[in-house]
């Protein structure tokens, strides 16, 4: 997937560009660069509390700095002309709220008959969602038309 390095309109674009620069070592490096690549984001517990990933220091270089703290001091974070934080303390996501990802447990219910299951690509009615592809799906699979 190609991302324009100068396109920072969305968090993903900004973060991927930041990670790519880290991988290429364009900003030189210290030990934090390696840790950042292994665990690009600080961990978040179920209660929403930020924790530093195992083996990552909470002090010193800033790699283990909890995300919310980084953002609270977003004024301290240096940005280049593209808006990327040059010392990467904000993970390219400063200004964005914390998010949580969850998925409910699936229940065994509403199972299609075998013929419908094969034709729909799932035997579960509740997973039979109207995905829209475009141009063979090479441009992402969520666009109508």
């Amino acid at each position: 997937m190609f991302f324009d390095e100068n396109d920072n309109r969305n968090p993903r674009g900004r973060n991927d560009a930041g990670l790519r620069r880290q991988a290429l070592g364009e900003h030189g490096g210290n030990s934090c660069d390696i840790q950042s690549l292994r665990m690009p984001r600080p961990g978040v517990t179920r209660s929403g509390r930020n924790v530093a990933p195992a083996g990552m220091s909470m002090a010193g270089c800033g790699c283990g700095t909890p995300h919310s703290d980084s953002c609270a001091r977003s004024g301290d974070i240096k940005h280049d002309r593209s808006g990327h934080d040059t010392d990467r303390r904000g993970w390219g996501l400063c200004g964005y709220p914390l998010g949580s990802v969850y998925a409910p447990l699936q229940e065994w219910r509403a199972v299609y008959d075998i013929e419908t299951g094969l034709s729909r690509g799932t035997i579960f009615r509740e997973l039979d969602m109207p995905w829209y592809g475009s141009g063979g799906g090479m441009r992402g699979g969520c666009c109508r038309g």
Binding site: L105, Q106, W108, V111, I114, E115, G117, L118, T122, I123, F124
Partner: protein
């Protein structure tokens, strides 16, 4: 294909049924991977396995082997007579 009882068997229909069952088993297995103790899912799985055995048996006795593991004849290698995966009849 004419089978040994003289009736005309639609092998494609039997194969289609087998594929439906196989797909349902695969999807059920994915569910069971996440919920291995789900009783109704296990029951459904076993029901499908029974159906599969019956349909596989019917296909192999009337139409030939589904895979190289199903060559029922002791006197001939029927598997080589089946269409290859890239041939239309195999799909």
């Amino acid at each position: 294909m004419d089978n040994n009882c003289g009736c005309r068997v639609n092998c494609r229909d039997i194969m289609k049924k087998l594929r439906m069952i196989d797909f349902a088993i695969y999807d059920t297995a994915l569910y069971l991977d996440a919920y291995p103790d789900c009783a109704p899912a296990l029951e459904y799985y076993h029901r499908l396995i029974e159906q599969r055995e019956a349909v596989l048996c019917e296909y192999q006795s009337k139409c030939g082997p589904v895979s190289m593991f199903g060559n029922e004849s002791k006197s001939s290698w029927q598997w080589v007579n089946k269409p290859w995966p890239w041939e239309f009849d195999a799909n």
